[in-house]
Amino acid sequence: MKKRPFKERYPTLKSFLKGDGPCHYIGDRYIEGTNIYDRREWRGVVDTAYDFGWWLATWLKMGAFAAKNPVRILRAFWRYRWLSAYLAAPHMVDKWIAGDRGLMLRCDRHALNAMISDTVDILWTMIRADRKLGKTKYTDKTVAFDYTLPRHIMLGFPGWDSVNINQQCAFMLPLMIKQMGAYYIDQSVSVGIPQDMCTLPLVEVGVAVEHEYPDLGNFWLCTNNPCDANMMDNAVMYRELSDNGRKAVHAFVTPLMYDDPTTKELGVHEVCEAIKFVEEQTGEKFNWDAFRDGIERVNQVTREELERWDIYATTNTIGMNGVCQGFFSIYFYQQSANKHFERESAKILKLFNKGVEKGINTIPYARHRAVMWSCGSTYNCQVANWLYTCWGIAPIINMDSLTGHNLVDTEDMDTMLSDVADWYGRTPMRTHTVGGNRHILQVFETARKFNCDMIVMYDDIGCKGMAGCQGLIEEEFRRHSDEFKICWLPHALMDYRTVPPAEARKAVNDYMRTVLGEEPLDPTLEVFDDDAGW
């Protein structure tokens, strides 16, 4: 911990009591060489107490999870290395809400509450059904979906549980502990898969190499979403996830040219085929009424999301920060109707509306409103908060927040299937990266729509789809350089070793100082070493 005179940190009593000011000296709070707080962030009396309450609640939720069946859960911890990452969840939350105050803190906490509650549910759903920990009555009634495949069709099979199996076991790991992603990447490489592939599927495959997927259910739905790499990982995980061919596997495919009218029939056909497959496997008829009800509930959350977009676009009441907003949308996208998201989304919208009524500016120190484009990082997702706390760049909307927001017309079966097919084709990391260059170039209309003067372009060095259009983007950026400030933000999605967070920050620092000639809001965050952090 670095010592800084109290007076320097809080020039007035009011600023201390409110924890307010353009500079939070967040960097002072990190344990040397890490991004781990040595003491909690001071957000003023009320907000610190509010945040502390939620922090305790997170631990309580985790405790309640452990209490469900301590022996089984302990065995799961013993068996699955990835599970230990969840012990760092409270730290992840701290990273995700760094700098949050007032309304934004509240909205983000509600969003996190949905995600944490649901994660706890899913972890338990997996563990209680896992054959490796002992067969139970849930084992046969739980269905595994690939993590990039939304589970909406399961709404038509009430009484069946489903999980996106590689979401909790793989995707989320570097969000909590960055080293965890690297570990599983190395496992994939050890069986001959080239290291220069996208690191997300490499992590997924690494978990399979280690035989660390829970063994649940009797069938599995895989997908070509969102990209070539994620499609191919299904092939190499076949043995593990099908239990050497003992479980049925269905490829739930979506068209790549998803908004080309000629491909619509394929999208619908594949939804029907997937439903048929689940019917065959479960021996149950698809329940259209339950499906419609579930979809209506999804629609409600989508409507709320769309209302929030209007607020983002037209006001400074940006109720959710860049990280929470992105993950809340992506997470919900996969889950379909879900009590936690439905509950929290409604609350968040209420808070937003209150903020608008009162004219609350949640980004008072913003110098730039930014759209965050392309696939973002996991191990360095908190960089979106850092952009604001360090440089006053407020992320207004993420590319991946803008997916899966089509309302499903539930009027009749055909319209419902057609719209659900659209939903399935428009996944995060896909809507804007496949189906033609015009999708990636929607960045400009999006920036205009959300009233942004800046584009922060993620540069995932493993993403082949984005590498392929680099020159196109560069040229279009030059064409739009009078209209937008454009900054690249490099990362390697799941592998912090390839592009360490400090290197990504340096790219922004250089741009802000040399191109825009600006000074940081919080100089303690400009350059710091977090290599040994999580």
């Binding site: 080239p194 070509n224 990266t433």
Partner: protein, 399 residues
């Protein structure tokens, strides 16, 4: 063995995409229709008045412009094609029929449009969405995609005739080509073949990149020549191998492998004959377009086909072809940065060496390569070592 009469001419044809035969066909007013991927049925582009050209970029070693557009982290095959387009190497083409198949290739194809690379006002790029799953329904979908993305645009822009009669003629020509090429390919099964893997690769590459009607007379003649060709008194090679993997449009790759002591007896790679040289049968009551779609849907063993059935089938396809052609080992290659083959290569090696879901085991040598054989030294050493290991296995009676 005595040199084949037309070999130098064939090699000459591979020196440039715009070779003498292509030039002659264009001079006759025929349309050169370009494509890049095995998912685009070449036969559809060989209707009267047109001819298909699978794009290659011979000799492209430093794709600088393409690297600016696609970074140094994209597949070098796609980049080399783009580079050659920037150099004006494909100025003769009338249209590019692409697909959203592998994203890298698709990006490359979109640059033809974005950068206006072809100086022809009527030039266009049209991409289709290939099915990933396979069933009777998907045959129909594929057929409709072909109609909407290939047939209709070409009819509209150039007035190309895709009548059943035109398609039937194209299928007949395709089938004849397949018969000739396959007859040559069969010769590789012999213990001491009268054709080398290199010679075969050269002719197969010509068949993908030249107007077929112009090439066929030479191929027919070569087949006759092969029938009476005397083999070497003793096999000149030390091991028989099959090559499996992504785009290999450089016959030097095969030559290098053969100089290392192996003969390539089977070619299961993009630009190879397995698959690709299957005759198309038009069923009773079936339209020629449907027959084409059906054929290309089921005879494609690309790693992008999903589901256990396709997965297991394609491993068995490799295994069976290796056995049929007497390959003792597999060279499984992938282009650098290729996601399809990066994964497939690793999995092929695991499954085939272990004998998982295939009837037996096969030794595998995995390699990652660039577009040209520039890193030849390193590869040669790998190949030599693999050939030696196959020899040792043979001596020990393991294969």
């Amino acid at each position: 063995m005595r040199d084949l009469k037309h070999m130098i001419e064939f090699e000459e044809l591979l020196r440039s995409a715009n070779n003498e035969m292509v030039k002659a066909a264009c001079a006759e007013g025929r349309l050169a229709l370009a494509y890049n991927c095995s998912h685009i049925p070449e036969v559809l582009l060989d209707v009267p008045g047109c001819f298909g050209v699978r794009l290659r970029a011979p000799g492209c070693v430093s794709p600088d412009m393409a690297t600016y557009y696609m970074t140094n982290r994209s597949c070098p095959y796609s980049k080399s094609i783009l580079e050659r387009a920037f150099e004006g190497g494909y100025n003769f083409i009338a249209a590019l029929l692409g697909q959203e198949c592998c994203t890298t290739m698709n990006r490359m194809e979109q640059y033809f449009d974005y950068c206006e690379l072809i100086p022809n006002e009527k030039f266009f790029v049209s991409c289709l969405d290939m099915p990933i799953n396979r069933s009777e329904w998907h045959e129909g979908y594929y057929e409709r995609q072909l109609r909407q993305k290939v047939v209709e645009p070409l009819e509209r822009v150039y007035g190309v005739d895709f009548s059943d009669a035109a398609l039937t003629a194209a299928i007949e020509q395709h089938n004849e080509l397949c018969r000739v090429i396959n007859a040559m390919g069969e010769l590789r099964k012999a213990e001491n073949p009268v054709i080398t893997g290199y010679e075969f690769a050269v002719m197969q590459l010509c068949s993908l990149t030249c107007p077929k009607d112009k090439l066929l007379p030479l191929l027919r003649e070569t087949l006759e020549e092969l029938k009476t060709r005397e083999p070497e008194p003793k096999p000149w090679f030390r091991a028989r191998v099959m090559v499996v993997g992504s785009e290999i449009d450089d016959p030097e790759f095969t030559k290098m492998l053969e100089m290392a002591g192996a003969i390539v007896v089977a070619d299961r790679y993009c630009f190879g004959t397995m698959p690709g040289r299957e005759e198309i049968e038009v069923g009773e009551g079936e339209t020629p377009l449907h027959a084409i779609a059906r054929n290309y849907l089921w005879n494609n063993h690309c790693p992008r086909a999903m589901g256990p059935q396709a997965l297991i089938e394609r491993k068995n396809y490799v295994y069976q072809k290796a056995k049929e052609f007497g390959a003792e080992g597999l060279i499984v290659e992938s282009m650098k940065f290729c996601e399809y083959w990066g994964y497939e290569r690793a999995q092929d090696a695991m499954w085939l060496t272990e004998g998982y879901e295939v009837p037996g085991t096969l030794p595998v040598c995995q390699i990652e390569r660039d577009y040209t054989t520039a890193a030849a030294g390193q590869l040669r050493t790998r190949f030599q070592a693999f050939v030696e290991s196959l020899e040792i296995k043979r001596i020990q009676g393991a294969i």
